[in-house]
Symmetry: C2
C-alpha cells in the first residue's frame, strides 16, 4: 500500500452536502464560503509520546485529534465546516488506519464537517488537523473583550481527564461505569459546539479549556487586561471524579489543583455581562452540557480563588500545560 492507495482506502470519503466544490484529490480543495460569513481557522497537532502514548487506541486518537480542533471553533461560537488532515505514520498499519479513520469520520459526520484534503507521509507518528469554520460577520467571540463585573461561566465539569490519567498511571481501580466515564472524558472529549453557539449570543469573551482552567482563563484576563475571582465551591467536579479521589486518597487541595490546572478538559469558559446572564440561563437547554457561573471578572488584575470560609488564594494563571516549559 502506497500513500495514494492509503488515502483512497481510508480517507477519500464523500464530503457532506454543500460548501465543497472539490474535496480530496487535487492540488487543493475548492470550497464555497457562505455569503456574509467570516472564516475561522485553527490548527492542532497531537504527537506520539508527547500528547499520547505510542500504543494509544487509534479509535480514540481519530476522535480526539478532530475533537480538539472542533473545540477551538466552538470556543469562537463558530460553525465548523471543513478540515485537512496531515498524518505522519511510521508504517501503513491497516488495522490502525481502519480504527483511526472510522472514528475520525464518525465524529466528522456528527459534527457536520468534511475532510477536504491533507498529506500522508512516513515518519514518527503525528497528527495535525487544520479546521476551517464560519461565523456570521463580526459575531465570533474572542478572548480580549471580558469586562469588569462579567460573570465567568464554564460548561460541563473540570478535572476528569486529569483524574483519568492519574487512575491509569497509579492503577486506581474504579467500577466499570466510572472507569468508562473517565476514560471517555480523556480519550473521546465531545466538543461543545452547540454550547458554544448559544454562549456566543451572550458572551463577551470565550476560550476552550484545553491547558487547564487557570491557564485558559488566564489568557482571557491577560488579553482583556482585567482580573478574575473564582469561587472554589462553584467549580464543577463530576461525581465520578469525587469518588475516584476518595478511593485513591487524593485530598481536596489536590483535587482542586487537578480542576484548575489539569488540562484536556475541552470545556468552554466564557465571560457574560451580568445583564445577559438571566437570558443565557433561561435559553439553556437540558440537552446541552450544564453551564455554571464560577466567578466574576474584576478590575484587580490577577486570578484569585475565594473559599466559602472567606479565604482568598492567589492563583498562578500559568499553571497549565506548556510545551518546552522548564
Amino acid at each position: 500500500m502506497d500513500e495514494f492507495s492509503l488515502i483512497r482506502q481510508y480517507f477519500d470519503v464523500r464530503p457532506l452536502p454543500g460548501h465543497v466544490a472539490r474535496g480530496i484529490g487535487d492540488d487543493a480543495a475548492i470550497l464555497d464560503c457562505p455569503a456574509d460569513c467570516q472564516l475561522l481557522v485553527s490548527t492542532d497537532t497531537l504527537v506520539s509520546g508527547v500528547h499520547f502514548f505510542p500504543d494509544a487506541d487509534p479509535a480514540s486518537l481519530g476522535h480526539k485529534a478532530l475533537a480538539v480542533n472542533l473545540s477551538d471553533i466552538a470556543a469562537m461560537g463558530g460553525r465548523p465546516a471543513w478540515f485537512t488532515l496531515a498524518l505522519t505514520l511510521p508504517e501503513p498499519d491497516e488495522s490502525w488506519l481502519k480504527a483511526f479513520s472510522a472514528s475520525l469520520h464518525k465524529l466528522a459526520e456528527s459534527s457536520g464537517v468534511s475532510l477536504v484534503g491533507g498529506d500522508t507521509t512516513s515518519g514518527p507518528l503525528s497528527i495535525t488537523i487544520t479546521m476551517i469554520g464560519t461565523a456570521a460577520r463580526q459575531k465570533a467571540i474572542c478572548r480580549d473583550n471580558a469586562a469588569v463585573g462579567d460573570a465567568i461561566l464554564v460548561t460541563g465539569a473540570l478535572g476528569d481527564a486529569a483524574m483519568a490519567l492519574r487512575c491509569r498511571s497509579n492503577d486506581i481501580a474504579l467500577d466499570d461505569a466510572n472507569t468508562a466515564f473517565l476514560n471517555k472524558r480523556l480519550d473521546c472529549p465531545m466538543p461543545r459546539l452547540e454550547e458554544g453557539a448559544l454562549l456566543a449570543r451572550y458572551a463577551s469573551a470565550m476560550i476552550d479549556v484545553s491547558d487547564g482552567l487557570s491557564s485558559d482563563l488566564g489568557h482571557i484576563i491577560a488579553a482583556s487586561q482585567v482580573g478574575a475571582e473564582l469561587y472554589a465551591e462553584k467549580l464543577p467536579v463530576s461525581e465520578t471524579m469525587q469518588q475516584a479521589a476518595r478511593r485513591a486518597g487524593i485530598d481536596d487541595a489536590e483535587v482542586l489543583s487537578m480542576v484548575l490546572n489539569g488540562g484536556d478538559d475541552y470545556e468552554l469558559c466564557a465571560t457574560v455581562p451580568q445583564a445577559q446572564l438571566p437570558g443565557l440561563l433561561s435559553a439553556w437547554s437540558t440537552a446541552l452540557a450544564p453551564v455554571i457561573p464560577i466567578g466574576t471578572i474584576t478590575a484587580q488584575e490577577g486570578l484569585s480563588l475565594h473559599g466559602d470560609d472567606g479565604t482568598v488564594q492567589s492563583l498562578n494563571s500559568g499553571g497549565g500545560y506548556k510545551h518546552f516549559n522548564e
Copy 2:
C-alpha cells in the same frame, strides 16, 4: 522559553493589510473572504529524516515548507492568502527558530500571504503548513479536464533538484555558481504563482511537479481519462544540470530519468487547448519562468516518450516518489 513566548518572539508578526480580522492569539483566526471567490485549501508536511536531513539549514526549511504549499495554490491558478504553521520541535533552539522564521516570513511577505495561526509542540522535528487561497468562482484549474489534442506545457526546467541531491551525496564538485544554482533549486524553490495565474486563463488542467513529471502528469491523465505523449528533446533541462551530468559521467538515459522522475521540481505542468496556445505564448512575459510545450494529450491511455529518432518508449506514470512504497 515556553511555547507562548516562542510564538510571540518568532511567529507573531503583523498580518499583511486586508483580509485578516484577527490573526495569531485566539482559539482561531478570523478571516475576511473576498466576495465572489472560492477558497482553495492545501496541506503539506515536511518530516525530518524523510523530506530533509536532520541537520538541514533552517533558513532553507522555512522557505521550502512554505514554498511547497504555495506551489499547490499556484497549480490551481489561485491567489494564496493565509496559512497556519504546525511546528513540532525537539527543543526550542533559538538560532534555529530565528533562521527558520526569518526565511518563512520573507517568502510569506513576497508572496502576499499572512501567517494566521498554528500550533507549536515538542516532539520529533516536523513542519506542517496549511495554505488557504482564493480563486474567482469556477476559475480554479483542476486535474481532470485535459482533453485529447491539448498541448502539455511545463514551466522552468526539470531535474535540477534531483541533480543537486546527487551532487551532494556523491561529492560531485561544480564551480560555485553552478553549485549555488542547484542548491537553490533544491532548497529554495520559487513557487510559480504568477505563472500559475497566467496559465489558469488558458489551461484545461494543471498540477505542480513535486513527485516527478511522470507521476504528476500521470495524475492529470488518470483523472482526465486520457493519455499523453512527451517529446524527449523538448523536456527542459538547465545548462547547469547538463554540466553536472557531464562532470559526473551521468549518461543521457539517467539524466532523462532524473528529469522525468526526480521530483522536488515545484514547476507547473499544464494542458492547454491548441486554440489557446498562441494566446498563452504571446501573453507570456520574459519576467516569468519560461513555459515550454513538451507533449500532447492523446486518446491512447498511458504515457509515452517520443525521441527525435522516431523511437517510442512507454513510461511508468508512477515512477515518482511515493511514501510507504515498497
